[in-house]
Symmetry: C2
């Protein structure tokens, strides 16, 4: 067998304006290379404790079960559902984009009976629509996406939806992958049972960790399960006993990624998340008016348009995929195509965390103007 | 809610001589901070293709399904079993330490019927013992650990065990977490159906990725499943369609970790893995004779003692945990306690990848001499 030989790593320097990953903050890059610690080193356990406090601040929660799982945001989706669902459970999946549908698929893989309610791409649910679905059956839990990465829509009324779920005896699992750190997420005020996110969107860190938080009620449901959880790797009880409790070995977590996430969270805490949200919103408004001026208007109504992710309508006669490739190859700017039925209709432009900077917006708009 | 504020990250510089993570190679540290790429960037897909070639070299395989999963070695264990097992399948778990038992637990969480055969800690199986277990029932698969991280024993006769498994109609899943890159692993010559490892042991990279390889036969079994795989996150068919095929989005993989793993693998390929194995072995022999001279003899017979991980008998009258804490707190040297019943009997001393250097061994032996 010949031994493969490859040259030095030399990736291009991209300006990441897609739906995630966002750009890694330079302070996070430096933190990444701190000397590696063992997964049970008391110094790493201290870092976990700090990360937990920072995550509780971002999630606005007192939940003891607040961790960063050793996987991407998708592992957070799977952990939330795998820990809560037992075979045969009834689940209501509210789908207003690709990620809502992914949650339904994950629930079915756990042998749940899943009922779906769906909105066309680009719309969100009214409280009444969800409440009327909740009335039809006694669901163990409902799932909903706070910020749909496939459309750039923010699902509003989360507090009211959560109250409706609880009134009808269902738990609520909220996906905050694209919202956490970008818009307010208020786990305790909204009474959310389980929420998770990813390190690589608004948090300014590389991908690879999934912040997750579980309410005392969710925890009780997990502790009272009849059938054991199908996953060992994403088992939250074992996480709780590794991050806290006996600090028992569960898996060899990546100190490097935890150094990075702690630093990304610290950057947000130093600015104050409300200040960061206001800055992101102001930047998004500059992007939106620039796009309008170019005849590439945002697709989502202002009322529920996400500052962290904008879908913009491709002008008539323009090949969206050619423009996207030119942005990447000629300008080193990454944006994404639309999802599913919107594939040829919109671009997806992210301003996530450290990517949300005035210079990126001005450059992107100028480059787009040159290409369309 | 008060905003948590923490000081600059400032972890101590540890010399990692435990059972993993090993020390991150300085070249890998530099690769980690290359500019972040999106998970569908053509430049990242090129890096995956290179990583695959390097992993195939390390695994000594032509398997098309050779990837690095976005999780730790434990995610590799779970992926191997979750993809192959359907509820009610009969599984034979050969247990000669903690990780063998963990595989049995993961198989049971997938609703398999698991039969266990066990050896006392520090022993390995004979071919006859495994063959006689295989004769008792028609198993769908058997699991075995190549290098038991809990004892430092190398399970010999893997090629013959694999032939016996196949003769009796069972697939073989081989755990190579502590062996890959440290001792020869010959997936094709041994006819192994599924094997996996972790990026943080002999590969010199941070934790967070799990190399995995599946034979065409394993792939066929997965493709002919009746029940869908319980995991979306660790679904190998979806990995195959992300790393290859349509390069369809599956999850937001961490470019930073892939930069790191590619570099760690490249370091090994430049030296040639046989040369690296010889160097590790020579270093281990220096450690072993040093330990003998201190009255801390290796616990595992030379015949099947791992060069990458040595269990050494704690001398009478010595508090192993106090010495371990002193090594960490006074010398910044990490070693580990024994596992389970060996907790107070042995230390576990790893020489993995970049940790396996003469200066580390000399320092460790000198420090240990000062403490016992």
């Amino acid at each position: 067998m010949t031994i493969p030989q490859f040259p030095d790593l030399n990736p291009p320097t991209r300006i990441l304006l897609g739906p995630g990953p966002g750009m890694t903050h330079p302070r996070v890059m430096r933190a990444l290379t701190a000397p590696t610690l063992g997964h049970l080193d008391p110094e790493l356990l201290k870092i976990y404790a700090e990360e937990q406090e920072l995550l509780r601040y971002l999630f606005q929660t007192k939940n003891e079960w607040t961790f960063a799982l050793s996987g991407t945001g998708t592992s957070g989706m799977e952990a939330a559902l795998t820990n809560l669902i037992e075979p045969g459970d009834d689940v209501l999946s509210c789908i207003h984009g690709y990620f809502g549908a992914r949650l339904a698929e994950i629930a079915e893989r756990q042998s749940a009976h899943v009922d779906r309610i769906e909105k066309p791409l680009g719309q969100i649910f009214s409280l009444e629509e969800i409440e009327s679905a909740l009335k039809k059956k006694k669901y163990k839990l409902m799932t909903i996406i706070h910020a749909e990465t496939s459309t750039g829509a923010e699902q509003l009324h989360i507090k009211e939806i959560s109250a409706a779920a609880h009134k009808h005896g269902a738990l609520i699992v909220l996906d905050t992958v694209t919202s956490l750190g970008g818009i307010p997420v208020k786990i305790d005020e909204w009474d959310i049972d389980m929420a998770y996110s990813g390190s690589q969107k608004n948090l300014g860190a590389p991908s690879g960790l999934a912040p997750i938080t579980a309410s005392p009620h969710a925890r009780e449901v997990i502790e009272k399960r009849v059938k054991s959880i199908s996953s060992f790797y994403l088992n939250l009880k074992q996480y709780a006993n590794y991050w806290g409790g006996a600090h028992a070995y569960h898996h060899t977590a990546s100190a490097s990624l935890h150094f990075a996430l702690r630093e990304g969270l610290r950057v947000i805490a130093e600015e104050g998340q409300e200040n960061a949200f206001a800055r992101y919103r102001a930047n998004a408004e500059i992007l939106w008016s620039g796009l309008e001026a170019l005849g590439v208007p945002p697709f989502i109504p202002l009322e529920y348009r996400l500052p962290s992710l904008t879908t913009a309508k491709v002008p008539a006669g323009c090949d969206p995929h050619k423009v996207r490739a030119q942005l990447l190859n000629e300008y080193n700017i990454e944006i994404a195509a639309g999802f599913g039925a919107l594939k040829d209709e919109v671009w997806r432009i992210g301003l996530m965390g450290y990517s949300s900077r005035r210079e990126n917006i001005t450059l992107f708009l100028a480059a787009l103007k040159e290409l369309i």
